[in-house]
Symmetry: C2
Subunit: 133 residues, 2 copies
């Protein structure tokens, strides 16, 4: 909520409603899910707010294996995601080794690395237990 003030955005009712919902979400979420939970809020505003929170760094975007976009709260500055290919649950992880690797890679890559994206596709423990569904 402080995000809005910090960036000079107005603390409107729709924005606060969206932020409240996100605050409780453990798993990743889609724009549609948010919209479904807030029928009173216009579709455009959902997308506008998502974009705003992305820019502010409150949430981050990731891609499912098929490229479909999904979002998750960014609890930490820079991190990567695990996505269960069965149930779609999203996890976050940081690993110093990943970042170290990126720095090492810059020697082998032409041009200047300005960012990266790493997604791990997994079958989560819960889904390993239940072969179906």
């Amino acid at each position: 909520m402080a995000v809005l003030e910090d960036e000079g955005y107005r603390a409107t009712a729709p924005r606060r409603a969206i932020i409240n919902i996100l605050a409780e979400k453990q798993e990743g979420f889609t724009a549609e899910e948010i919209g479904n939970e807030l029928p009173a809020v216009g579709r455009a505003t959902i997308f506008r707010t998502i974009k705003l929170l992305l820019k502010a760094g409150v949430i981050c975007r990731l891609n499912l294996m098929d490229g479909a976009p999904k979002y998750s709260l960014s609890s930490v500055e820079h991190h990567h995601h695990t996505v269960c290919v069965r149930c779609g649950n999203v996890g976050e992880f940081r690993a110093a080794t990943v970042e170290r690797l990126m720095r090492g890679l810059s020697d082998d890559i032409p041009g200047n690395i300005v960012g990266h994206r790493l997604e791990l596709y997994i079958v989560c423990d819960r889904c390993t237990g239940n072969p179906d569904d």
Copy 2:
């Protein structure tokens, strides 16, 4: 072209036309570009063929920084991509260190890793020279 036979697909004129175009492409390409170069081929067939070639492993999909899909010939089995955030040019690279890292990561990650996606966003050498455009 052998791909089609190998997988039991018919070697139709549209498919051959698409494959011929791809064979000459150095950079990554979008579905639209292919469609533009082959006005005679129906849009649906472009997408159907892309999907087919993805499954066959002839091309691979990558995501631009904003999530937009792009494709590139997969010259090698498993690899990753660099995307210039200025001009959009796509490069491929392999690095044993990346794959080694993934194996190492599996200890820290809950669940079974079944795949990963790594994209490096860069400013390519050509774009570093030309600050504008």
